[in-house]
């Protein structure tokens, strides 16, 4: 196979890799400790000591961004995981029971969750259970579920009409085995693409929740809260707001490009042509 990777995929993966690497690196090393404040050295511009300057508490911006990447990525990954873990089985079930009662129940349940504005429910959850990164994950995860259920069902329905499924049925395989052994592998690419896009939306949602104070709580750095904290200082210390803003944009862009690129790359019709 000599097919070249699509350019969008390369750029997307590169951007994503930078932030994932930063997040992983922050687990073992950051240029400065993000817990220690140094008020005397606050609001410094970029220097050799602090490559991206310091914030209003004198914390190193680069370190903050690295740990912030970890927060964002962790929240988004777990939230997407919850969405997949719940949504995919529901979607498979609905597709297997196409036109039946379970299908109806799952799909109408989906519509119900879709009918609520996601961020409002997220705010409700954090208001009731208290703001924390965990509750943010829960809120985002719940809203990922119907997305995955729908994508899974749509993809699965198409696969169910294929001849090899008929063959599998004739050979006596049950619905569960067919779903797991034949349907799931055939819609995996769909799920990966959707997962990437949900991942980027999860990062945005985490930033949004943290921005309004309902996500990660201090002292855990979070891009959204860095933005919120620096709002009033934007006129004299713009790097405080611009840097986390750019980080959010770059990560979301990277993930979206990756998603698009993966779709192009993994599309079965393109693959068949090769």
């Amino acid at each position: 196979m000599t097919a070249r990777l699509p350019l969008t995929l390369v750029v997307g993966l590169a951007l994503t890799a930078v932030f994932v690497a930063a997040a992983l690196l922050s687990l073992v090393w950051t240029p400065h400790a993000v817990e220690s404040l140094n008020i005397a050295a606050r609001l410094q511009p970029a220097s050799a000591e602090h490559l991206l300057g310091t914030d209003h508490f004198g914390r190193d911006m680069l370190s903050m961004l690295m740990v912030g990447a970890r927060t964002s990525i962790a929240v988004a990954i777990v939230a997407v995981g919850i969405g997949m873990a719940l949504g995919v089985p529901l979607g498979l079930l609905a597709a297997a029971n196409h036109g039946g009662v379970i299908d109806d129940l799952v799909m109408r349940g989906n519509d119900l969750v879709f009918a609520f504005p996601a961020l409002v429910i997220a705010i409700l959850i954090t208001a009731v259970f208290g703001p924390s990164a965990f509750n943010a994950i829960l809120a985002i995860g719940i809203f990922n579920t119907p997305v995955f259920a729908r994508v899974t069902r749509g993809g699965a329905l198409a696969v169910w009409t294929q001849e090899f499924i008929l063959a599998a049925r004739v050979s006596g395989k049950g619905v569960v085995r067919i779903s797991l052994e034949h349907i799931l592998p055939n819609i995996a690419s769909l799920l990966i693409v959707q997962g990437t896009i949900q991942f980027s939306l999860g990062i945005l949602a985490e930033a949004g929740l943290s921005y309004v104070g309902l996500g990660a709580q201090p002292p855990l750095p979070s891009w959204g809260r860095m933005l919120a904290d620096s709002q009033t200082m934007i006129s004299f210390a713009p790097h405080l707001a611009v840097l986390p803003g750019l980080a959010i944009i770059a990560t979301v862009l990277g993930l979206n490009l990756t998603g698009d690129g993966l779709r192009d790359h993994l599309d079965p019709r393109l693959r068949r042509r090769r």
Binding site: E35, S36, L37, I39, A40, R42, H56, F57, G58, G130, P131, G213, Q217, P218, P219, D229, Q231, T232, M233, S235, F236
Partner: protein
Amino acid sequence: MKQLFSGPALATFAAAAVMNVSAVLAAQTSITVGMQLEPPNLDPTGGAAAAIDEVVYANVFEGLTRYQADGSVAPALAKSWTISDDGLVYTFSLHSGVKFHDGSAMDAEDVKFSLDRARAEDSTNAQKRLFTGIASVDAVDALTVKITLSNPDGGFITNLAWGDAVIVAPESIENAKTAPVGTGPFTFSRWVQGDRVELARNPDYWGDAVALEKATFKFISDPTAAFAAMMAGDIDAFPGYPAPETLPQFEADPRFRVIVGSTEGETILSTNNKAENLSDVRVRQAIAHAIDRQAIIDGAMFGYGTPIGTHFAPHHPDYVDLTGGSAHDPAKARALLKEAGAENLTLSLKLPPPSYARRGGEIIAAQLREVGIGTEIENLEWAQWLEQVFRGKDFDLTIVSHTEPMDIGIYANPDYYFQYDSAAFQGLIEDLKLATAPADRTRILQAAQKQIAGDYVNGYLFQLARTGVANARINGLWENAPTQANDLTGVSWSD
């Protein structure tokens, strides 16, 4: 025709426009004052929130006496008074011709009603202690009130100047929470909840007429929005401006004047004295030594604030500087924690919205971490804070500014939210009530300051500075905040 206006016509037009502008400027008699918090109601005799007084004190409601801008107490509805030789009987003579906004006359019966209502068993007054010394209130005639105390009280005239002691009318008190009726120079016109309260000049005011015809208090909780509203000119003055970090920009802008004064706000790391671990004075002392006040003032308030070592305003003549007793000393803090056997402590730190609390909380969390105390920060809205912390006492630590004047007496109440219960301190406050000689009061007040500092009741951080921004053409705003008030009676615009 290429030219829309011929030369002379254009000149006339321009002149007219200029005249128009100056006419508007000269006629400016309305003001929009920004406030960070919206009052929960508008009855200063029925709520503890500072925001109530910040709208209605001296503007809508008046008491027998009142605070002035410099912190001194002056006669208000009471023209004058005499004090009996034993210090027990105060006879006030009232101004004549004073009317409530609903047209009814203010007389001695209203004074009796107001004070009896405030000190009643079932009173919801937030500062009942102001009135506990009153034995009886008698209306001698329409304009004379006799107040008898059970013990001499040197601070009684000052007590009557509080917003909680304003004179209300029995006819209108029922609806005072949403439609306050007082005797002040402004009448209440409208409250758009969540947005603003509007006041209008009282044409029948008994005292000197005010310059402003209309005053609007606009509530903007978000510091960024406050900055934008101020810059855009939507707000004329923001006396409790919530974003000190942007003050240098206003200072550099000739359109604005930055007003930095002092407040009665002792900003403290309030400590639940009944909480597990925190009931041990060594742990509280360790927390006190872990705190670096200057770092908090610089980091949270951008340098605006004065360090305090006890619950007392530094600009008060009886203040004792006790900051040395709780100086920043992490090694000592660690030793004390070890001694108390509380080395792996994790405490909840519940923070209300103001930036002194939110930013200060992050700094304190970092400072506590240095001595080995972990914190769980929880950011709360004011309603949640009042519910959980102030009423529910469900907290270990919180940061709040106590903005009432001379409020060291709150430490004598064992049910107050930080639950400090000391017989010695309660005795001091009892003595204070009886003391009338200035020297005695000074001695007791200083002993009281030392008592709470020595018991490390709370972490004493700094005296909140009053950082305000106003349009440069506004005169007469209070520089300091001797009480919670935005007194607009002396405010006017210059051309």
